[in-house]
């Protein structure tokens, strides 16, 4: 057996070295600790943010996020060919909640609140008055113990009673009998608007104009308006406009457990809907549980879709899977952004660590060479250096990770490990190489061909590295553009945490690799530049230029400092550009959602009241424009004989055009075409916009109305986008009114600096949407806020490391720089000129970074903006174009230049005590 000699570690040296080089070692330790803190904390923080985002999304989706199950009625055929009244119907309905709950996967059940059962009738029409009023009967069963529904107080009359005495509770009613009487309670606003009281019969007919016999038992007020059950049928508490079509208002009456059996007899099976609602409890959701919940919901819906035809039991319905899919996509997009920033910070961090190691090895070059000449083997030296750097890396890494535990729940090793590793091996590798080179005969071979050969190998090595980086960048960009930044939906639908999935790291490293390639390119060009400057300065009339230029040609030939500086400035500029684009995108998204500085959504079915409201708002100080409109989502129109459901906007076209012109929203240049009334055979002119091109100029449109003849619309142009709707139809209010359609405005757009204050008045009786508030809410939404903070943190880290790189690079060349400068001082160079020459020497790489860095960053942002899918985070319709944050880019450009001046001042201060006289002695610098 061959015994390999154990490396002979000289412990006194190992112990003495750190004291001699405390500065660079401490710097390395700080860099490792801070970057490990960043890299270790960001993934768990992003995970926590993702959990919040899921909760937020579910909370905002409200009803869309509930899981509903519809159940058909059990047959109620009696022995005599009629229908049998079931006095225990409320219990049956209540039991359904348990039955439905049993079908749920435990994972899903764990995140759902206690279910609420509802029974709702089809919409009926109130046959009094001219305005279109609809009516619905509703039963809420969330708390059977308390008589069925949420608590109410009876202000007049009492709870609905059964239509038959106790003894006849199981009566059989023949088909074709007169309408069965049902009692309902009315909420106070409903009763007041309808002008009805206890004992009154509500004049109702169904869609087929058959009379319904519904009697008011009493007038109530809810005990707790916020009871989740009311949210399922808000019209039980107050009239709601627009639910049943343009210009309609829905009213509703509350059934009790006692009157529910009567409602069953009053309606046919298909006219009465029985539903159990499971609301999600956002607080218990996490990103990971959302995953299994979504899968469960999809399975549930699929199963009920296939079995629905065969057996009549349960039909599941929810948009929860879509809501979760949506938020998961956004989380994936945010994670992708985080990965991009992490890779950028890590790249620069590793370059800085290499630079620090290089500085350290330079300081030790003499000692290493001496040790080698004294007979220490390379493994001995490598081991000595390794012991030190591993101890340092582990200590600093542990400090960083300790801080991670303090700020985040959990640690991500994946990103922290490369930094610790780089810190552990950089110095030993560089040190051993230096020691090996020092003892390899002469440093510069005397023989000319040998010298050329050495140069060639060096160039070849560098070119190989450059080609490797270039190939990596090309691969990253190609993957990014082909696949996008989001992980493929099939394998990982939620997207892992930042970089938890190996596949996403390559596209996420595109910007960092791009910055490296750009920096390498600039590095290649830099010597050409400094060479040119040197040649010109030799002939220059400025006597000092040549000294700075000659030194600069040497200093700027060093690879790492330039690489660190250019890469960090470029990536910081990239991050700034992305951030600015996202911030602007959020603002645009808020404009789009609100449509003005503020918007009132009016629930009044009364045109005059809305107009009065608009006038009141217009009179408020600081309000510039007030435009009222009737906006109907899912309006029913027939386009060339197919039904379309666009957003229909009936508005004063001129006022709307003025409003759009005064906002950053897209203008409507074709609005003047709407004013032409009575064109094309009396049709109302309309502007259209559709996502899929289904609505085009030339299309014939027909607006269906429930209470009048259809109105013909002639498409005369393209509409601007209005809100978030895919399809939009805009018509002029006057033209519509002229065609005989009553216009009931339900939307008030307000602009001007005082808009927010003007609509803040809660007595207006409308839902208020303040753009500033919407924007603030979006900016503070978990994902946006998390990313905005991450951008800042990354930019700070990048800039700090870039400047550190500058300082380290300067430190590495300081000895030679000041040697030259002191020598020049003995020739009569004035101290102030010495400072200028020093600045001149350090300037070229910094100038390259100051000019090239921001340009490179903006270029990278422009190249990656599409695949990075920022629109998913900003709520914009299309991918935004890059927004250039001028002053921030300016700061990035100026910061390194200012740093050079500071560095030179510090270097000068550090040498202040050295007398020029010492130059005459051997030790200089």
């Amino acid at each position: 057996m061959i015994r390999l000699p154990w490396p002979a570690v000289h412990w006194p040296t190992v112990r003495a070295r750190p004291r001699a080089d405390a500065g660079p070692l401490l710097l390395t330790a700080v860099v490792v600790a801070v970057v490990v803190l960043f890299a270790g904390a960001v993934p768990p923080l992003m995970r926590a943010t993702a959990d919040q985002a899921v909760r937020d999304a579910v909370r905002q989706a409200a009803e869309d996020a509930t899981v509903r199950v519809h159940a058909r009625w059990e047959p109620d055929d009696g022995p005599y060919g009629g229908r049998v009244r079931d006095p225990y119907l409320a219990e049956t309905v209540s039991d359904l909640r348990g039955m439905a709950g049993d079908e749920l996967d435990p994972d899903l059940r764990a995140v759902l609140r206690p279910p609420i059962a509802t029974v709702t009738s089809s919409t009926l029409k109130i046959t009094d008055g001219g305005i279109q009023r609809t009516f619905q009967l509703g039963y809420l069963g969330n708390d059977p113990a308390a008589g069925g529904g949420p608590g109410v107080t009876w202000l007049a009359g009492g709870a609905p009673r059964p239509a038959v005495p106790e003894a006849e509770s199981r009566i059989e009613v023949p088909y074709g009998a007169p309408p069965w009487p049902v009692q309902v309670g009315l909420a106070k606003p409903v009763a007041d608007t309808l002008n009805l009281g206890p004992g009154d019969r509500i004049p109702l007919v169904d869609q087929r104009r058959r009379t319904k016999h519904v009697v008011v038992s009493g007038v109530f007020a809810p005990t707790d308006r916020d009871d989740p059950a009311w949210r399922l049928a808000p019209w039980l508490l107050e009239p709601v406009a627009g639910v049943d079509g343009v210009g309609s208002t829905r009213f509703a009456g509350l059934l009790s457990a006692d009157s529910l059996p009567d409602a069953r007899l009053a309606f046919a099976d298909e006219e009465l809907d029985r539903t159990v609602w499971f609301a999600l409890d956002p607080e218990v959701l996490t990103r990971d549980s959302a995953e299994s919940v979504a899968a469960n919901v999809v399975a549930l819906k699929a199963a009920s879709a296939s079995s629905g035809v065969r057996d009549s039991s349960l039909r599941w319905e929810t948009r929860l899977d879509a809501v979760l899919r949506d938020v998961r996509t956004r989380i994936a997009a945010a994670n992708a952004q985080a990965s991009v920033l992490l890779v950028g910070v890590l790249t620069v961090a590793i370059l800085v660590l290499l630079l620090a190691a290089d500085l350290l090895v330079r300081r030790r070059a003499m000692a290493l060479t001496a040790a080698r000449q004294r007979g220490a083997t390379l493994p001995d030296l490598a081991t000595e250096l390794l012991v030190e750097s591993v101890a340092l890396a582990l200590l600093a890494g542990a400090a960083g990770l300790g801080l991670v535990v303090a700020v985040a729940s959990g640690i991500s090793w994946r990103w922290a490990a490369p930094v610790i590793l780089a810190a552990a091996v950089a110095t030993p590798v560089l040190g051993t190489l230096t020691a090996a080179r020092a003892t390899r005969d002469r440093r510069v071979p005397a023989n000319r061909t040998a010298r050329r050969w050495v140069r060639r190998t060096g160039q070849l090595r560098r070119a190989t590295l450059e080609v490797a980086v270039l190939a990596g960048a090309v691969a990253a960009f190609t993957t990014l553009h082909q696949r996008g930044i989001l992980p493929p939906a099939s394998t990982a639908p939620t997207g892992p945490g930042p970089g938890e999935d190996g596949g996403a790291t390559l596209p996420a490293s595109a910007p960092a690799l791009g910055a490296l390639v750009g920096a390498l390119l600039l590095l290649r060009l830099l010597p050409l530049g400094t060479g040119l400057v040197l040649r010109r300065s030799l002939r220059s009339r400025r006597p000092l230029a040549v000294f700075g230029a000659a030194r600069a040609a040497v200093t700027s030939a060093r690879v790492l400092p330039v690489l660190v500086l250019v890469t960090s400035v470029a990536l910081a500029s990239f991050a700034f550009t992305l951030r600015a684009t996202a911030v602007q995108g959020l603002a645009e998204g808020a404009w789009r959602t609100v449509g003005a500085d503020a918007r009132l959504d009016v629930n009044l079915a009364d045109a005059a009241a809305t107009t009065a409201l608009a006038e009141r708002v217009a009179a408020a100080p600081g309000v510039r424009q007030v435009v009222t409109a009737q906006v109907t989502d899912n309006a029913r129109l027939v386009a060339d004989s197919t039904l379309v459901t666009p957003r229909l906007v009936i508005v004063d076209a001129r006022a709307f055009a003025r409003l759009l012109a005064a906002t950053p929203l897209p203008d409507g240049p074709q609005f003047d075409r709407l004013a032409v009334t009575g064109g094309a055979g009396g049709a109302v002119p309309a502007l259209v916009r559709s996502a899929d091109g289904g609505l085009r100029p030339g299309t014939r449109l027909e607006l269906r109305r429930a209470d009048g003849p259809a109105v013909q619309l002639a498409v005369v142009g393209t509409a601007p986008p209005v809100g978030d709707a895919d399809d939009v139809v805009v018509v002029d209010a006057a033209a519509v009114a002229a065609a005989g359609v009553p216009v009931v405005p339900n939307t008030v757009w307000v602009t001007g600096p005082g808009a927010g204050r003007a609509v803040a008045d809660r007595t207006l009786g409308a839902d208020v949407l303040d753009r500033e508030e919407v924007l603030a809410q979006r900016r503070t939404a978990p994902l946006s806020l998390g990313l905005l903070r991450l951008w800042w943190a990354s930019i700070t880290m990048l800039l700090a490391m870039g400047l550190l790189g500058l300082a380290l690079g300067a430190a590495a060349s300081a000895a030679q720089r000041w040697q030259t400068l002191t020598r020049l001082r003995t020739l009569g160079l004035r101290p102030v000129d010495a400072r200028r020459v020093a600045v001149g020497e350090l300037l070229p790489p910094v100038l390259v970074a100051a000019v090239g860095g921001p340009l490179l960053g903006v270029l990278l942002a422009a190249l990656t903006l599409g695949p990075l899918a920022l629109r998913l985070l900003t709520g914009q319709a299309v991918d935004p174009t890059a927004v250039l944050p001028w002053w921030q880019l300016g700061v990035l450009a100026v910061a390194p230049l200012a740093a050079v001046v500071v560095v030179v001042r510090v270097e000068l201060a550090a040498r202040r005590h050295r007398r020029l006289g010492e130059v005459l002695r051997a030790g200089e610098g």
């Binding site: 006597p543 020739l827 004035r830 006289g917 130059v919 005459l920």
Partner: protein, 234 residues
């Protein structure tokens, strides 16, 4: 002979540090040097030669005493005044050559002229002349690292002479050279005294150098020895 000396040193004191560890490097040093002569400064290692040269050349300030070079009180000058002095009046040759590594031999020689803002054409002429003088016309474009020690020192001498100083200060200029190369450097120095009329103050251990000098000043523990009779300038 005219009696205004080019260099006049009076009562110069230089102490390093304070307290018991303080080193009294120069004690009450006074002497004059007439223009156009070569004076050797001789003494054991640590006797204060370099310290004295630094004070004389304005690279260091004495704790007491005055130094007058060519009518200028060096000890009274501020930084800019000293810079001017170094640019125009004093030239230095260091034991370690002190060339600027990133500049060619010609550019090294031209550096003082650049600092003195000499017009380019004149500068180039003078550089050529000086390189010729030190026998390095063929090596004008080589960097210091590509020159031998003796060649480097000759470039340094050419550079020190570039701005036509009145006083050339050389601190062991042959200390790092072998005997033969040292000899050529020494005769070069002797030659420029003759040809350029410059005054040379040179610290040395070399007996040949002492022989070449008109006068030898001996220093011991920071004090000048009494000069042997006869060697004093006439």
């Amino acid at each position: 002979m005219s009696t205004v000396p080019l260099l006049s040193v009076r009562g110069v004191e230089r102490r390093f540090g304070v307290g018991p560890t303080a080193v009294h490097a120069l004690r009450d040093v006074s002497f004059d040097v007439q223009g156009g002569t070569m004076v050797a400064l001789v003494g054991r290692s640590g006797s204060g030669k370099t310290t004295l040269l630094n004070v004389v050349g304005g690279l260091d300030r004495p704790d007491a005493g005055t130094v007058v070079v060519d009518g200028t009180d060096v000890t009274a000058l501020d930084e800019d005044g000293l810079s001017r002095l170094r640019r125009a009046t004093v030239g230095y040759v260091f034991q370690t050559f002190g060339l600027i590594p990133v500049l060619s031999a010609a550019e090294n020689v031209g550096a003082p002229l650049r600092l003195a803002r000499t017009p380019a054409a004149e500068r180039e002429r003078r550089v050529e002349l000086l390189l010729e003088l030190v026998g390095l016309a063929d090596h004008a474009q080589q960097r210091p690292a590509e020159l031998s020690g003796g060649q480097q020192q000759r470039v340094a001498i050419a550079r020190a002479l570039a701005a036509s100083p009145r006083l050339l200060i050389a601190d062991e200029p042959t200390g790092q050279l072998d005997a033969e190369t040292g000899l050529s450097v020494m005769s070069l120095l002797r030659g420029v005294v003759e040809s350029e009329g410059v005054t040379v103050l040179v610290a040395t251990h070399d007996p040949v150098m002492m022989a070449l000098a008109e006068r030898v000043i001996r220093i011991q523990d920071g004090r000048l020895d009494a000069e042997p009779a006869g060697s004093a300038p006439g």
